[in-house]
């Protein structure tokens, strides 16, 4: 097995690049038991059904970190060869036995850091089969700029020095040689939201991170709902006023409900649920 066949280089990464989704098999009770054992996380709520029920939960549930593990699997597979500097996640919703999680991700930032550290941030998240956001996170990687850069660094030489300006100049030259194309506009999934430490300090060098005092994390609830709302609201508002008057301006509530009920059974799964639903509290 050759592992370096597929390498991800900084020069090939664009903000907005999406990772192919990773659909995991159902998280069944056997997997929960195996994971709890492997992780050494012996919270009785994960494995002791009577205890979970007595504590007010409908059943035992999976450790939230298993979803984070799926995000790491997705990101590690896509970024092969890159160095993971930081992985943050918020365990938003319970993972119940039998849940099918899909891990997704996209590049939200790409930056030239001091010391020729070529860095990118991936927004990663997992949804369950009901389209609910289960886990969301941010993964920060450092990459080789190019194959040339990797060769140099593996030979013990300093990294290739490329500035943002140099890259832009080179790209501009390349695009002039090509016929004009309208850039493919991909609908952003969701504006990036800061995680626990609102702005992670730039990871210029590990040493700096080690020394850096981390900002105290803010109350999750507040940050979450504040950032989640603006994304969700405009989307929900738009279609409503358009449709309502068109159908029957006389009544408001009745016509709205009637057509919604019929197709509810079928198109529900078809209709892509909002990819990043405004996350609230655990239910």
């Amino acid at each position: 097995m050759t592992l370096n066949v597929r390498q991800l280089y900084f020069e090939a990464v664009k903000v907005g690049d999406e990772l192919p989704p990773l659909v995991k098999p159902p998280v069944d009770r056997l997997q929960i038991a195996r994971y709890v054992g492997a992780a050494g996380d012996w919270n009785p709520l994960y494995i002791d059904e009577p205890h979970a029920r007595a504590s007010g939960f409908p059943s035992a549930f999976a450790p939230g970190t298993i979803g984070m593990g799926f995000l790491a699997e997705l990101a590690t597979d896509w970024t092969r060869g890159a160095r993971l500097k930081r992985l943050q996640s918020r365990l938003v919703k319970f993972i119940w036995p039998g849940d099918v999680l899909t891990a997704r991700g996209r590049v939200v930032e790409r930056r030239f850091e001091a010391g020729d550290a070529y860095t990118m941030d991936l927004e990663v998240w997992a949804e369950n089969q009901r389209g609910e956001l289960v886990t969301r996170g941010l993964a920060t990687y450092q990459l080789f700029y190019s194959a040339d850069d990797e060769t140099r660094q593996r030979a013990g030489q300093p990294p290739l020095h490329v500035t943002q300006a140099e890259e832009e100049t080179r790209l501009a030259r390349l695009s002039r040689a090509q016929p004009q194309r309208t850039p493919a506009v991909s609908r952003p999934l969701q504006p990036a939201r800061p995680l626990a430490p609102p702005t992670p300090p730039p990871l210029a060098a590990v040493a700096r991170v080690v020394q850096a005092a981390r900002p105290a994390s803010k109350p999750a609830g507040g940050a979450r709902s504040a950032a989640g709302k603006p994304a969700a609201k405009p989307a929900a508002r738009k279609p409503a006023p358009k449709k309502a008057p068109a159908r029957k301006p006389a009544r408001k509530a009745a016509p709205k409900k009637a057509p919604a009920r019929k197709p509810a059974r079928r198109p529900a799964p078809k209709k892509a649920p909002p990819r990043m639903p405004a996350s609230k509290k655990r239910k």
């Binding site: 592992l3 195996r34 919270n43 007010g56 939230g64 992985l87 943050q88 590990v206 991170v209």
Partner: protein, 145 residues
Amino acid sequence: MLDKSLIGRVSEPVLHEVEKGAIRRFAEALGDPNPLALDEAAARAAGYPGLVAPPTFALTLGWGERFRHSLDLGTRSMLHGEQSFEFGRPIVAGDRLTVRSKVADVQERSGASGPMDVIAIEDEGRDEQGVLVFRSRATFILRRG
């Protein structure tokens, strides 16, 4: 309510020897087929001295039961709310990491089912040269009642 004076409480340093079997079992439990975590030959071919742990394997090296018991958190339901890691380098089989844990924060928050306590634990793992390998921060929610 949890005692705010827990903030700053630190654990004894705990030495963890990272075993390849533990890495393999962790990857298998996640269903992660990454050969670097399962196949030693593949890991060596990629330039690592042994199996490479999946990132969240660092959870297994976090605060131990002894430290947890010393904090006397009671028997309330404990929910893992947030988790983050920083890595100096990947964790590989054969690593001997010394991990220190500490209570980074204790807070009271109001939730749907009444007030909750939130405790943040930070772990730091260093190798035998004292170089930082990983740092972890976990937030747990303790329900009242």
